[in-house]
């Protein structure tokens, strides 16, 4: 058994609804809406125009910077519109709308690599970059940046298959149904980083998946080790997984690479496998559709850009008293106000909650029980962070209480018996700190410019 991380909570995992259901292919939708920003970093620039014909795997969005990832057509058909559409992050995002011709023509650009075994790290990074692979667990950080910034520094390569959020079973099903993709993808990463073995972290509630992987590892004689971890949220958070497997802590404000660890989501690993062995960029996504509002929960594989209403349609629709739609897991997912948003590269789950209203309290009052201190995986003190922020004191939040280290996992809010909106307050607090930093920088720049002008 691997080591433990600090704190953590045990929400009811709710995975029984879908963990025995095979991944189903969603009937291709008549229209997909592909957002030009499905990753952290600069949004893509659309390189197709209305009326263009596109094929599956064809590049339609050019990266807008180094920290960015290209975007490809997920269906073949005609570009119907290039315009802002509702974004799952709120507001709108420039999107390419493709009308499906149902021909499933694959682009000529999609070609497998001739000799996957002799790829250099640079070549692999280039393939990953061109395939538009981003962290598919939800953080959506461009994977090629992660690889290139970790090369030479990393001695622990970890595949994150913890899937610690309740309800989600996509990774679990992938391990059961496509172990070869997982293991071969992991082997590619082992070669790329030049490590003896790659660790796959799996929570103890998915032992059958660990067994399937182990059988595959033995068959392929792959340099991969499966680590069974405690079933505890947030086991799959990057810093916590790093701690559980390597025993190292990521320095405050730094990346896992600074602790010699590089962590890839299971889905990302499979995407790397596909990019190398089939040449197909990221065009599909496995999404668990579940929750009390869904008639028949399922694991669906669908093209990127599928409107979420089509997912719910495929699951028998929603109950009439559905009051919340969540893109992502229940702990960190984003609540959606419309079904017009579409599946992105980081969408692993769509939840609909129906029936009883939330556990909401009109006048939440902290009872100082300290449960939040006990469950914080970063060992922060949410109780005091909250109190300082409510007084508007974000300086103390930042300096004395290390509020900027909060990973927003939601464990404190989950456990708070007084039902305080802790995580929400910390997001706002971090925003305030960032705003203040920007303002200070702008002021300093302006002063510098003024001084330069004076001299001139």
């Amino acid at each position: 058994m691997a080591q433990a991380f600090f704190g953590g909570v045990h929400p009811n995992d709710m995975k029984a609804a879908t963990n025995e259901k095979a991944i189903e292919q969603l009937a291709a939708p008549a229209e997909v809406v592909i957002p030009m920003s499905m990753h952290i970093g600069a949004p893509c620039k659309p390189i197709v125009a209305v009326g263009d014909h596109v094929k599956i795997g064809q590049r339609i969005g050019e990266p807008g910077g180094f920290v960015s990832a290209p975007i490809h057509a997920s269906v073949s058909g005609t570009v119907k519109a290039v315009e802002p559409r509702p974004s799952s992050m709120g507001g709108t995002v420039m999107s390419v709308v493709i009308e499906n011709d149902f021909q499933n023509t694959v682009s000529e650009e999609v070609k497998p690599v001739a000799d996957p075994d002799s790829l250099t790290p640079e070549q692999l990074t280039e393939i990953v970059k061109n395939a538009g692979i981003v962290g598919q667990g939800g953080a959506t950080f461009p994977t090629h940046v992660k690889i290139s910034s970790g090369l030479g520094k990393v001695d622990y390569v970890i595949i994150n298959a913890a899937e610690c959020e309740p309800y989600i079973t996509g990774d679990h099903r992938t391990m059961l149904e496509r172990p070869e993709q997982v293991i071969k993808g992991a082997t590619l990463l082992a070669k790329c980083f030049g490590v003896d073995k790659v660790y796959i972290g799996v929570e103890a509630n998915k032992r059958n998946a660990a067994e399937v992987l182990n059988a595959k590892i033995a068959e392929l004689k792959a340099p991969v080790v499966v680590e069974v971890l405690h079933t505890r949220y947030p086991q799959g958070a990057e810093k916590q997984l790093c701690q559980a497997i390597s025993g190292r802590q990521v320095p405050s404000g730094k990346l896992p690479a600074d602790a010699g660890c590089c962590i890839f989501n299971l889905n990302t690993t499979c995407a790397i496998y596909r990019a190398v062995y089939t040449g197909m960029p990221v065009v599909n996504k496995i999404v668990t559709v579940s929750g009390s509002g869904v008639i028949e929960p399922k694991n669906l594989e669908c093209p990127i850009g599928t409107p979420i209403s089509k997912l719910f349609d495929a699951c028998g629709g929603l109950k009439d008293d559905t009051y919340k739609l969540i893109m992502g897991g229940p702990m960190m997912g984003m609540a959606q106000y419309t079904t017009d948003v579409s599946v992105g590269k980081g969408t692993g789950c769509m939840l609909a909650f129906a029936g009883k209203e939330e556990k909401y309290v009109e006048n939440p009052q902290c009872i100082r029980c300290g449960k939040c201190v006990g469950v914080c995986p970063i060992r922060l003190e949410p109780v005091f962070m909250y109190k300082y922020l409510m007084k508007g004191n974000w300086e103390a939040f930042r300096d004395q209480l290390h509020g900027m280290d909060c990973i927003e996992c939601g464990a404190c809010t989950y456990t708070c018996p007084a039902r305080l909106p802790l995580t929400h307050a910390f997001r706002m607090g971090k925003q305030q700190v960032n705003n203040a930093r920007m303002a200070a920088k702008a002021k300093a720049d302006a002063e510098k410019a003024a001084a330069a002008k004076k001299e001139a």
Binding site: S309, L325, M332, Q336, E358, Q365, I367
Partner: protein, 350 residues
């Protein structure tokens, strides 16, 4: 198919699920944990002592009433549904002698709820334990009634005056009075003859309404530990400190093990350590802080019992440590995940 346009959706911030434990369920757990001790004090070995029950009920009703009235008059949202006033009411009754007149506990409830709890902002904001502060003010105001204890087997009327009730010194009072004098071994022998260790453990002794039965309080404490309402740090540190200090400081001529057992089981130590010192609002939030808090409570308890003019020190030790909670919370902070090593060293150097 579903008409997605007609859904009434909430778009709130994550997380979207919450644990089932809330303030009310925690308070309910504390109430449940207090019931065995209450039952014991009613049953009280043969003489059905219903005054213990009526006293508790009066105390609870007055606490809830004062809370309701205060918030009503000041037009604040009503919070009595969280049951915290019920807990305060039960604890206040538990730390008073069963023989005091009812009006006295109503007054104590006023002080506990209005002055100690609500004036500082209500639940979670008070810096002293309301029940203990209420008791302290009653002791200061009515020293006679608050330090007269019915004998363990006394018959206590429910409604009429308790002036004729047979009274007896509590074990701690007997020890306290004799400490420092020549006849301590003699007094101690008298004490052990009067009450066996089993009597002390079961609660067949004189004392405040709910404090006597270590067994029942322990049962409640184990329930609270299992339900994760309290953590072990404060009770274990508190009781452990008192046990160790009394073990090594037994007066000459008295068996140190006996002295330790009678010191730990006599008085309000179990009630204080399990139910009072663990009060959320008035104890530190970190585990290390809680350990220090518990040890501090134990040390001050022993100090007061040994040198103070009161035979019992649990109440004041907790109230004094309550005042240090902000300090313990300010200076004992967890070392965060990934804290730079340099900072750790600096902190150690300081």
């Amino acid at each position: 198919m579903t008409d997605y346009k007609n859904l009434k959706l909430i778009a709130s911030s994550s997380p979207h699920i919450r644990s089932d434990v809330n303030t009310r369920s925690i308070m309910l757990d504390v109430i449940i944990a207090l019931l065995p001790a209450l039952a014991m004090s009613v049953w009280n070995f043969g003489h059905w002592n219903f005054r213990a029950l009526t006293m508790t009920v009066v105390s609870v009703i007055s606490c809830v009433f004062w809370e309701w009235l205060y918030r009503k008059l000041l037009k604040k949202p009503q919070m009595i549904g969280d049951l915290s006033a019920v807990v305060t009411g039960m604890l206040l009754a538990f730390v008073c002698p069963v023989t005091i007149p009812y009006w006295m506990i109503v007054l104590g409830a006023f002080f506990s709820i209005v002055v100690v709890k609500q004036l500082y902002g209500g639940i979670g904001c008070n810096f002293l334990n309301p029940a203990l502060a209420g008791r302290a003010i009653l002791v200061a105001s009515f020293a006679g009634a608050m330090t007269t204890w019915a004998a363990a087997d006394a018959v206590i009327p429910v409604f009429s005056s308790t002036a004729d009730v047979v009274t007896a010194a509590t074990p701690l009072k007997m020890i306290g009075d004799a400490l420092g004098s020549e006849n301590i071994p003699q007094t101690f022998a008298e004490l052990t003859g009067k009450y066996s260790v089993a009597d002390m453990f079961l609660g067949k002794i004189g004392g405040s309404l709910g404090e006597t039965s270590a067994l029942m309080l322990l049962l409640g404490g184990i329930y609270l530990l299992i339900r994760k309402v309290i953590s072990w740090q404060i009770p274990v540190a508190f009781i452990g400190t008192v046990a160790i200090i009394s073990l090594i400081s037994a007066p000459a001529g008295v068996s140190s093990v006996d002295y330790m057992l009678y010191s730990v089981l006599g008085g309000g130590l179990f009630l204080g350590a399990i139910f009072m010192a663990t009060d959320y609002a008035t104890s530190p939030v970190t585990k290390l802080g809680q350990l220090i808090f518990g040890i501090g409570c134990g040390l001050i308890t022993c100090f007061i019992r040994r040198f103070g003019s009161y035979p019992e020190g649990v109440c004041y030790s907790i109230l004094i440590m309550n005042c240090t909670t902000w300090l313990l919370d300010k200076y004992i902070r967890p070392v965060i995940y990934g804290a730079p090593k340099k900072e750790k060293k600096e902190a150690a150097a300081k």
